[in-house]
Symmetry: C2
Subunit: 400 residues, 2 copies
């Protein structure tokens, strides 16, 4: 939700969905910049604003947009009614600024829908059992939308973003990247967590859990030019032949650290990673090789911003404590991953991936795998090359 112009455009698009015979619930976020403006105002009054009161304040951002969109819809002859989170009500726990949704009462909304009215709900907010206003934290509006879709048993939850769908990889790196018509929740989770920031992971998890069909669409497409975006579904829904690999994801915000010559005995992982977690440093990949001579090497990756702090922690506290031989690190690395549910039934994906990288002379520094994903850490200078050759080798540039 950007400007008044943008709001009128959204109204037109909602009106078309309505006129095509759909019952429509719209979940909106605040106008761009509004939440940050409110937080800045709060910090101007109080350096560390009380979180209950911060939620009272920042929830007004969405309260303004629901009213504006309802006005715009009525102006073009569509019956519409706005709801705050508390009016719905979206019941949450009392963890202010990052509350979790506990329950949604869909009764009032359903009555309005049956009455041929478009319902507009403030995303990102709810109300706790005592009537306090809460907000859901990052990605909260997407989560509100998915939760409402689940509560109302909606046919589909459409999430309007600034991209027109989920791509096989970043088109800025591989111009041949294709938009996927559909992708499974699991693949989407892997793609999202690997740096393809289309949707907040939390809303995808939520949609997967409650079996809500999600569709990623662009909010910028012109009237008559709209595409159907990407549908995120349960794997069971897909009747087509699965491609082996759905996409190549990557993340350049990584740094790796290795503790060398660690005594290979039980509890060593906790002795190393416990203090790192206690320092509020998020850990991504973790790799421990089989040991020899009673010692092993222990590697992990962190966000690049935490590199210096983590290295100091390892050298000053952890190395002497666990009796390691040395600590090494590298913050010029990146992670490249191939993601696809198809690899479950197609062995040989990993070896193909390693062969392709080897043919280009790209050295693999770390490897980590899951059921539907293979990730490698390589020198960051190879990022674009690795993504391009993998995208081509797995035929992601070919229509399915």
């Amino acid at each position: 939700m950007g400007s008044p112009d943008r709001i009128r455009n959204v109204a037109k698009r909602v009106a078309r969905w309505k006129r095509n015979g759909n019952q429509v619930v719209v979940v909106v976020s605040a106008m761009s910049g509004e939440t940050n403006r409110l937080i800045a105002l709060a910090k101007d009054v109080s350096p560390q604003p009380d979180e209950r009161e911060l939620d009272v304040m920042i929830s007004t951002g969405e309260q303004v947009t629901i009213a504006l969109l309802a006005m715009a819809l009525k102006d073009i002859g569509v019956s519409a009614k706005s709801y705050t989170g508390s009016q719905v009500k979206v019941l949450t726990d009392s963890t202010f600024t990052k509350a979790r949704i506990l329950d949604i009462d869909g009764q009032n909304i359903q009555r309005d829908l049956d009455d041929d009215t478009v319902v507009i709900v403030a995303g990102f907010q709810g109300v706790d059992a005592s009537g306090n206003i809460t907000t859901l934290g990052r990605g909260g509006s997407d989560t509100s939308g998915v939760a409402l879709a689940a509560a109302l048993k909606a046919d589909e939850c459409q999430i309007y973003t600034d991209v027109d769908g989920v791509y096989t990889t970043d088109p800025r790196i591989v111009p041949e990247a294709r938009k996927l018509d559909r992708i499974t929740f699991e693949e989407m989770l892997e793609m999202a967590s690997l740096g393809s920031k289309v949707l907040q992971i939390r809303s995808v998890e939520f949609a997967g859990k409650y079996k809500v069909k999600l569709r990623v669409l662009s909010s910028f497409e012109e009237e008559g030019q709209e595409t159907m975006g990407t549908l995120i579904t349960l794997e069971e829904d897909t009747t087509m032949e699965q491609p082996i690999i759905s996409g190549i994801a990557f993340n350049r915000d990584e740094a790796k650290l290795t503790v060398l010559g660690v005594p290979d005995h039980p509890g060593i992982a906790y002795q190393i990673l416990g203090p790192v977690a206690d320092a509020n440093i998020d850990i991504d990949m973790i790799i421990q090789n089989v040991g020899h001579d009673g010692t092993t090497d222990f590697s992990f990756t962190v966000n690049r911003n935490d590199f210096v702090r983590t290295k100091a922690l390892l050298e000053d506290q952890i190395k002497p404590h666990v009796g390691a031989r040395a600590v090494s690190g590298d913050n010029k690395i990146c992670k490249v991953s191939a993601v696809g549910v198809g690899m479950r039934s197609h062995p040989g994906v990993a070896s193909k991936m390693f062969r392709i990288l080897a043919e280009e002379g790209i050295n693999i520094q770390m490897i980590s795998t899951s059921e539907i994903k293979i990730s490698v850490v390589v020198d960051e200078k190879y990022l674009e090359l690795a993504v391009r050759v993998l995208h081509r080798a797995f035929e992601l540039d070919q229509a399915t």
Copy 2:
């Protein structure tokens, strides 16, 4: 509520009231300019915004300030909690943008007060029986404060304004004007309706009806320099000797119109004023003299902005319809009034007023009286002179 600085100052002042052993409920308005900003934004999206949705939007102005004030109080060690109108709840009818308060549930607030917490309530807003957000219209925050004071049986309702109390007249015209320590509700109503715009009439009426002691105070006074403002009480509360006249009020926004030679028969007032009211023109004074020769002259005053429109209406429609001889008008007039409950028991106030004006050569064009007020219409060039000589003649510059 102006800036963050201002909010911190209010917090300090509230903290002192609290530390002096009071249970404190604070009703706040939006930050200056915020309500207008929101209305402009609404009109940018929709030329005639839907009123239900407009209330959803503009109620966010107060929602932001309650949170900011609660934060600021907590920062200086005072337990505080904010409430929106709907959280209180302030039950209103469903007349969006100008709702009337029906009931206030003081239970939650009382529990917090007993728990040693300062309660901060969003003024100007409420919630109807269906859970829709409503706003109270002009002067709504003052009305919210009075209504809450009544519901909670508060000792006193203090209204912080940009003046430090109610004066015997406007100090910009009469430098000797004195601040009144107390004034009755009836006098305050006459003063307010006559143009001394300290409080919204509606909140004074409300306070009178529910016997809430109101105190007008300045929100700009520095710490340690605060005065006690003006207490507005029921007449029965005052034990002191009443002054005969409490103040000289005036209004320069008036214009007068006269329909001359109107047939003097029943229903003529309605025939003249009915069409004026239908055109949404507010009428102030109305004067009809006894007739002679079967005709009479009929005069009334309107806001100066409505003068041209009203004159045209009288000439084009009303004059031919009622068979009047002529229509005359003057928009260079003003109204000056002496107000005081004491005149009930002191005859001769009117004749003294007329004598004083006559001594200055000020011609009186119209006279209107009530139980506690005498108003005269004079040429606007005499406004300052009339106010000064009356102020002195009724000894309003002398301490009681």
